[in-house]
C-alpha cells in the first residue's frame, strides 16, 4: 500500500519569495510521483511528474521538484512566486492506484 503526507496544510508567502511545499510518501514498491495544482472551482492540473531518471524534475509555471529516495520525499519548489500561484497543491503517488495527499494551500500575498 502507498500513502502520501503533505507536511503543511497552509503556506503563506510574499510575492517574489521562494517557496517549498513538502511531501513525504511511503510505499513497499517502486512508485511514480506527481504534483498537481487546483485553482478555485477547477479540476486538477498536472504540474510535474517523476517516473524515472534524473531526480530533479522541472514542471510548468517555473516549479520543480526533487525526488529523494532515501528520505522518501518529493518536495515542490519555486524560486520566486507570483500572486497567480495562489492555489491548492496536491502531491500524489502511484504504485497501483493514484493516491493523493491532503493538499497544501499556497497563499501568495503582495
Amino acid at each position: 500500500a502507498q500513502s502520501v503526507t503533505q507536511l503543511d496544510s497552509q503556506v503563506p508567502v510574499f510575492e517574489e519569495a521562494p517557496v517549498e511545499l513538502r511531501c513525504n510518501y511511503s510505499s513497499s514498491v517502486s512508485v511514480y510521483l506527481f504534483w498537481y495544482v487546483q485553482y478555485p472551482n477547477q479540476g486538477l492540473q498536472l504540474l510535474l511528474k517523476y517516473l524515472s531518471g534524473s531526480t530533479l524534475v522541472k514542471g510548468i509555471n517555473g516549479f520543480e521538484a526533487e525526488f529523494n529516495k532515501s528520505q522518501t520525499s518529493f518536495h515542490l519548489r519555486k524560486p520566486s512566486v507570483h500572486i497567480s500561484d495562489t492555489a491548492e497543491y496536491f502531491c500524489a503517488v502511484k504504485g497501483g492506484k493514484l493516491i493523493f495527499g491532503q493538499g497544501t494551500e499556497l497563499s501568495v500575498k503582495p
Binding site: V4, Y32, F34, Y36, N41, Q42, G43, L44, Q45, L46, K49, L51, F90, A92, K97, L98, I99, F100, G101, Q102, G103
Partner: protein
C-alpha cells in the same frame, strides 16, 4: 483537444433524492476514473474503468452508488438516494494506460445535498 468534460458543474439536491453525473474523457483514453473530493481533502478514488470494465470499484459505496461506461467511452456516476455526507466535488479523469504518467482531470461536479 476538448479535455475531460463533466456535467453538470454544480448540483443542489435534497437528501434522499437521486443524482447523476456525466463524464466524457479525452478521445482515445481507454482508462477512466471517478474520484470524490471532500472539502479540504485530496481526491479519493471511487472507481476505475478499463474500457467498459470496472477493474477497481473497491472504494465505491455500492449500497447507494453506481457507475457505468457501457460503450467504453463516456461514463455516468449515480447516487441513489443521496445523503448529506455525499456533498463533495466529484472528479472524472482519464488516461491512455493505467501504468504510466498522470491523469487528465475534468473540472468536476460540485454536489450539495441539503
Amino acid at each position: 483537444e476538448a479535455g475531460v468534460v463533466q456535467s453538470p458543474r454544480y448540483k443542489i439536491i435534497e437528501k434522499k433524492q437521486p443524482v447523476a453525473f456525466w463524464c466524457n474523457p479525452i478521445s482515445g483514453h481507454n482508462t477512466l476514473y471517478w474520484y470524490r473530493q471532500n472539502l479540504g481533502q485530496g481526491p479519493e478514488l471511487l472507481i476505475r474503468y478499463e474500457n467498459e470494465e470496472a477493474v477497481d470499484d473497491s472504494q465505491l459505496p455500492k449500497d447507494r452508488f453506481s457507475a457505468e461506461r457501457l460503450k467504453g467511452v463516456d461514463s455516468t456516476l449515480k447516487i441513489q438516494p443521496a445523503e448529506l455526507g455525499d456533498s463533495a466535488v466529484y472528479l472524472c479523469a482519464s488516461s491512455f494506460t493505467p501504468g504510466q504518467g498522470g491523469y487528465t482531470f475534468g473540472s468536476g461536479t460540485r454536489l450539495t445535498v441539503v
